[in-house]
Subunit: 456 residues, 2 copies
């Protein structure tokens, strides 16, 4: 990095905290549709102030998508993706500071949405501005799409790409990413699992009853518990007929990456963080790494009856649960939904109503290709060590399926976000470390200057 | 009823409303420990003014018990039980008048605690005073115990009977009761099921995780759902080994009562109220009546993870549930608790913590014996039809076990309370009908005068 650029980068690092503080104050909880248009306006304005031509993409039923274009010196075009929405702050009582007020404590900046994913957008902004300040122009063309529904499953992203797909055609794409790992390695994520998110509801009676009638009256709580229990055996295998039909095994190349990725120290840190003695099925090493190619059936929430302190002898008339299935190649959410419904019907749970709340295809980008190879070289040069490839992230980016199917663009995620393994995305006291901020911005600056060498 | 008594009864009926108004103004909410000592003092004074020798029984941690004795003309001694505490008035917005101000509307007196159980105490007072006014003395001996914790499970009743049991020894006892049914029949309740109330908690991780880690990390939600599901088979049979060991079958006499109690119209009203097409196992008639002799395992509440609207992909670190078991003769709560814990351990659920929050023995008073037989005759003579016996109520009166085990007194509940099937105990706009007041007082007068014929 030349002296001029080093200076402008240092100046932008100083501007990070005021910007992220303003951004996090916008309570953009998608699940509750809080402050969505204010946040979209704020983000659009930020891009505009950075030289982007901007507009908001309107899709019926969705908070507006912020879109911006910045012309640069080469004909290579990169798509950036971020989301301006955040998870709900509940449970509020576990927060040690106000969730929407960035609070610095013990070298950390704490706020809802800071690591997921507001800090990455601000890091990218700071990097772009530093390059512009030092060099006048940007080295290549940028397109930027920022949505407001990622945390509720990118519900309208498919519709958006059908409507506006032409705007998004590029030579490569960077999705939302993480930070460097504890060894200082950069990450290149090649794909994510898919998702089927459902809500179950049971209405066994029109009203709750006194539990003295439990020998007479149907229980919504028992119906739901039995329906949920029917979905998995005691070893954790999913019992929905056909659930595993379309699961492909990892390739030899993917397995080789998993072998390289084994990190027992990282396993130890994760165990300490979650306060557990061992991972599921007592797995470790390669076995643990490769298990991401197994689909999951997770209970995200259950509520029925009386759950406050003390005794209430109530027989619940109603019960609800939420569940997410993480899908692996080549499972598809609507196929799994149909199989789930068929299973419940076959088991006699016709009283358990299933509603799909979200979904997304699993997508894996192939390792070959000039964009991925260039990014690997950039990561190597910046960190002095090979990047850590992630063939398949455990989570989901529902937009990947839409981008692949409707736009024809595949992309990756990488390390331009000042997050780390214990940032606590989705959890109370979500935070980033202050010491990671400069490095994230510097990586983005280095990456952008290098990507200018690519051709369209 | 002779003319003199009829006159004094009519005079007391007029005094009912001012008395109940004063009593209901005392906001004796046990769950919130509101005005407990003021209410105890008021009740003690009422008994004193009625000729009782009174005292307050002090038990550490409990609101004082009001106790009174009244000597009469025969050597027969009857124990009366009531409670001066009431349920919280929440949800306040559903009340159509101030909850603690008796309000007369459409032939009803509305107030929190009026039917459960303040009106019964006032009816008994009015009856005793009418008899005293007409005849000078009371026909037999009364003891009266009035507690302030019934609505929170009679928490200290066992301790009270261990400390003061000698005071409570009598030849018969009347617990809190209801009104006449819609056919005009009196009720004689011979007992109630017992109770074991537990709370389960699972802490699988020190914190919630992103559900993208569901292939690696343990789930408190799944552990709890699987543990609950292990307790019952698909037909509703409880799978805890030894659970049914001490269940006795109903006697032929009890079965005969259930046969007499079959009421298809009442079944229809219940089905309409709960919006159900059929009762559990499609039962009706005798089969439905007698099923109260089956113990239950009811899920009173479950809470884990995210249960607000929309999508949150969380892997819950913690989960909790509440369950009540209604126990039948001769099951015992601590025995069932031990068997429940042994079952969970045997099934590998050592991570599911079980805490006992409440309990009580099932108690059934035998039909034979002069007190019950006399009461049946009294009900027959007063109403012109046989009483409706309830061999075993579906709910629980935790004090029954303490009275049986520590004092050696069995009792019944009957129809001296001016309540009816829609009085709405525990609900907003709790009320009694004005037209039921005189009949309740007259029944108590008739009952007391007849019981004087019994011997100790």
């Amino acid at each position: 990095m030349n002296e001029q650029l080093a200076k402008t980068v240092a100046a932008e690092v100083q501007k990070f905290k005021p910007l992220i503080t303003e951004y996090c104050r916008l309570e953009s909880v998608a699940a509750q549709k809080r402050m969505m248009s204010e946040t979209a306006d704020w983000v659009e304005n930020l891009l505009k102030e950075t030289g982007f031509e901007t507009r908001q993409l309107v899709v019926e039923g969705a908070p507006n998508y912020v879109y911006g274009e910045l012309s640069g010196q080469s004909d290579f075009t990169l798509l950036l993706y971020n989301h301006y929405d955040v998870q709900p702050e509940a449970p509020i009582e576990l927060w040690e500071s106000p969730p929407f007020e960035v609070t610095e404590k013990d070298g950390k900046l704490v706020a809802r949405g800071i690591c997921d994913n507001k800090a990455e957008l601000i890091s990218r902004i700071c990097a772009i501005r530093a390059i512009q300040a030092a060099q006048g122009a940007f080295p290549f063309n940028l397109k930027w799409i920022i949505e407001g529904e990622e945390e509720i499953g990118s519900t309208h992203f498919d519709a958006m790409t059908r409507q506006y797909g032409d705007l998004l055609k590029t030579d490569g794409a960077l999705w939302e990413g993480g930070g460097f790992n504890e060894k200082g390695q950069a990450h290149i994520g090649l794909g994510f699992r898919g998702l089927l998110y459902v809500e179950y509801s049971v209405e066994a009676m029109a009203r709750d009853a006194h539990s003295g009638g439990a020998h007479l009256l149907p229980s919504a709580a028992w119906r739901l518990v039995k329906a949920l229990a029917s979905l998995k055996d005691d070893e954790g295998k999913v019992l929905i007929p056909g659930f595993y039909d379309d699961v492909r095994q990892p390739t030899e190349a993917e397995k080789e990456i998993f072998r390289q990725n084994v990190d027992l120290e990282q396993e130890g840190r994760m165990k300490a963080m979650y306060g557990i003695d061992s991972f599921l099925h007592n797995r470790s090493g390669f076995e643990l790494e490769v298990s991401v190619f197994e689909p999951t059936a997770n209970i995200a929430g259950v509520l029925t009856g009386y759950t406050e302190p003390g005794v209430k002898t109530v027989l619940p008339g109603q019960a609800m649960a939420k569940m997410d299935f993480r899908l692996v190649p080549e499972q598809r959410p609507d196929d799994i939904l149909a199989k789930l419904k068929a299973h419940l019907t076959a088991q006699g749970f016709t009283d358990v109503h299933v509603e799909k709340l979200g979904g997304g295809d699993p997508v894996v980008t192939p390792l070959a290709g000039p964009f991925i190879q260039k990014m690997a070289q950039i990561c190597q040069d910046f960190t002095g060590q090979p990047p850590k490839f992630g063939p398949l992230g455990g989570g989901t980016l529902p937009l990947l399926g839409a981008m692949k199917n409707n736009v024809g663009v595949l992309g990756i995620s990488t390390s331009g976000n000042p997050a780390y393994y214990a940032s606590g995305a989705h959890a109370p006291n979500e935070h980033i470390r202050v010491r990671d901020i400069a490095r994230a911005i510097e990586f983005n600056v280095f990456m952008f200057t290098q990507l200018g060498e690519l051709n369209a």
